[in-house]
């Protein structure tokens, strides 16, 4: 442990974000010769079909992804959910601005396919509207947190030394503040809107990405091909651009996908605590929360559809992440 500066290995795996998911799958095809011998295929010459196609790496990735049927199903499901939320309202017109006292809590009927909300708005229309903001928050946080975590982690890992130590202690510190408490505190300080929610969730979500990226960068930095590149005179930025970043991408994309899932869950939690953007804006978490308030009245249409949509969306994103991690792992195996 003399040279070990950090908490033991698995700390690179981030709790809710699921670097653990990356490690979840055993290598899908255990190599036949375990005792240090390479697999039969690794030794063979490339297949002729691949020789002529320059995009073979992408193809290989795509093939690996689609071999994971669950992940493919997740992708299809996610596309459907996006269509439901963003294209649905074009075909299913509802008034989502005005509340109506006479049509409160109506059960499903011909005019309101999924009944109405406690404010008398059409529930199906609300679910579409809520889907928009939920998906926007998920993707927004996924992108923002990943980008920031990538830059921060890569910088820390590549520069190393004292800067690395300081940057990582800051991450440690912020990671020790339970995220929901932090988010609630920030939400209490300001009036929430969608953009702010994205920023606040990103502010707690980038930390684990930064840690993961730093660990990967540290290991990439000592690879032979990086040494070779420095050996013929590459500058630091050239090494980062040519070798470090492209090799980080796989892991980062997987991590970013899981971040989307986490962000959707966290957004639902914030909304449940009543700290989401105020009505008439809505989101699935808030709808679910309204359903919970009427739990004992038997208004099932206010509760289960919203809950189901959240679970299905998060599930879809998670299995997509698993599929992507297969792709990354296959490439690692071929390395």
């Amino acid at each position: 442990m003399t040279t070990h500066d950090d908490p033991p290995p698995p700390s690179q795996e981030l709790p809710a974000a699921g670097a653990a998911t990356v490690a979840t799958r055993p290598s899908s095809a255990p190599s036949p010769q375990r005792s240090g011998e390479r697999t039969a295929t690794a030794q063979g010459a490339p297949r002729d079909s691949e020789v002529a196609t320059p995009a073979s790496a992408w193809r290989l990735g795509f093939r690996t992804f689609t071999e994971n049927h669950l992940a493919t199903a997740g992708l299809v499901l996610l596309v459907l959910l996006v269509l439901f939320s963003f294209v649905g309202p074009l075909f299913y017109h509802t008034n989502q601005v005005a509340s109506s006292l006479i049509s409160q809590n109506l059960p499903p009927s011909g005019s309101h396919l999924l009944g109405t909300s406690p404010e008398g708005r059409d529930e199906l229309g609300r679910l579409m509207l809520g889907g928009q903001s939920t998906i926007e928050v998920g993707l927004g946080v996924g992108v923002l947190a990943t980008l920031f975590g990538l830059v921060y982690g890569a910088l820390s890992g590549f520069v190393g030394g004292i800067l690395d130590a300081v940057m990582m202690r800051v991450v440690d510190a912020l990671l020790s503040i339970p995220y929901l408490f932090f988010v609630v505190l920030l939400a209490a300080l300001t009036r929430p809107n969608l953009l702010l929610v994205i920023v606040v969730l990103s502010a707690v979500s980038w930390l684990s990405t930064a840690r993961l990226v730093r660990g990967e960068t540290l290991s990439l930095r000592t690879r032979d091909y990086v040494t070779a590149s420095q050996g013929f005179g590459s500058r630091a930025h050239q090494v980062i651009a040519r070798h470090i970043t492209p090799n980080l991408l796989g892991v980062v994309v997987v991590n970013g996908t899981l971040k989307v899932a986490d962000a959707i869950l966290a957004f639902a939690s914030i909304a449940y605590l009543g700290l989401g953007p105020p009505p008439p804006a809505t989101n699935w978490g808030e709808l679910l929360s309204a359903g919970i308030n009427n739990l004992f009245d038997g208004y099932w249409w206010q509760l289960w559809p919203a809950g189901l949509l959240i679970v299905v969306t998060v599930l879809a994103v998670n299995v997509i992440g698993d599929g992507l991690s297969d792709v990354v792992e296959i490439r690692l195996q071929k390395r």
């Binding site: 698995p10 490690a23 375990r34 202690r169 510190a173 912020l174 020790s176 339970p178 998670n318």
Partner: protein, 313 residues
């Protein structure tokens, strides 16, 4: 080992210092600053002035931080005018209930997840493993309050065996157990899904490792393999993970307490957020963070104790 412990302890202290600076920064950024935050918006200019002098808030910011940190160390975290009680007193009243809820559910989660993950790893890619993995993935993809609601619907509305709220916690051992059951269960299931996923993958890694092959070559039975060769090695990494999960568990408790009206720190915090009762908010954040840091420290020490490579260094 001593070197490891000392260094790890040092890290924890550094982390706490950074956290305290962050919290102090937020406090400072509050409208009206520290004094208003303590006295509330309706305080008179005179009392504001008096407290400013008394707390040394007219001094340079570094000194202010020193004073605040010193007070915080002594447990003096300010006064809640909303609840008309000192924050320290509030916390000492609410904190044990949290330790109870979080502690029980964490222990339960470990007790379920470790054997489950071990079993799944052993049966990897067989139908029962796939079924369990799918179930765990569903739990994993569910907001914790939805999980709680499902439990309420099943165990309270359909089969009325357990109460749906925990408001009357503290009225006796019998009620306490029945009242705690649903929150503990709701909080625990989410963690089970997370821990068991990790335990499973760690088990798989270990089962494919060379030393397990050696054990097989000695004629070890599956039972011996799992209990003697895999369990401990997989636990070492899982223990660290549990430590790192603490902030998420505590976050989960905030939601669960709000759902079940369990009178713990989470509920206190939530109410304080709605009332913008800043002394309470910051005090709670400080306490849960200390809890996390201490938990992390304990987890790493547990890791060191389990892994002879660190123990004998």
């Amino acid at each position: 080992m001593t070197g490891f412990v000392v260094r790890r302890f040092g890290q924890a202290v550094v982390v706490m210092i950074i956290v305290s600076i962050v919290i102090f920064g937020i406090l400072h950024a509050l409208p009206g600053g520290l004094v208003r935050a303590q006295l509330g918006p309706r305080a008179t200019a005179f009392s504001v002035h008096e407290l400013t002098i008394q707390e040394g808030l007219n001094k340079p910011i570094v000194v202010q931080y020193g004073i605040w940190a010193w007070h915080a160390l002594q447990g003096r975290l300010g006064f809640s005018y909303k609840l008309n009680e000192s924050v320290g007193a509030l916390l000492s009243q609410y904190l044990p209930r949290d330790l109870l809820l979080v502690g029980i559910s964490l222990l339960l989660a470990i007790a379920i997840a470790v054997p489950l993950g071990l079993w799944q790893g052993y049966r990897r890619n067989r139908p029962d493993d796939h079924a369990l993995s799918a179930l765990m993935l569903v739990f994993y993809s569910m907001p914790s309050f939805l999980l709680g609601v499902i439990l309420i619907v099943v165990l309270n509305i359909w089969v009325d065996v357990l109460p749906s709220t925990a408001t009357n916690f503290g009225t006796g051992l019998g009620t306490d157990i029945s009242v705690l059951a649903l929150p503990v269960f709701a909080l625990c299931l989410g963690n089970v899904s997370y821990f068991s996923r990790y335990m499973r993958s760690s088990t798989v890694d270990n089962l494919l490792s060379d030393h397990v092959r050696t054990a097989l070559a000695k004629g070890a039975s599956p039972r011996r393999l799992l209990l003697r060769h895999v369990l401990r090695n997989s636990l070492t990494s899982t223990v660290t993970l549990i430590g790192l999960t603490l902030p998420y568990v505590l976050s989960g408790s905030l939601i669960i307490e709000a759902l079940f009206n369990y009178p713990g720190m989470g509920l206190l915090f939530w109410n304080a957020a709605q009332d913008r009762d800043f002394p309470v908010l910051l005090g709670v954040v400080l306490v849960v963070t200390v809890a996390t840091v201490v938990g992390n420290l304990l987890a790493d020490l547990g890791y060191a104790a389990l892994d002879p490579r660190i123990r004998y260094k």
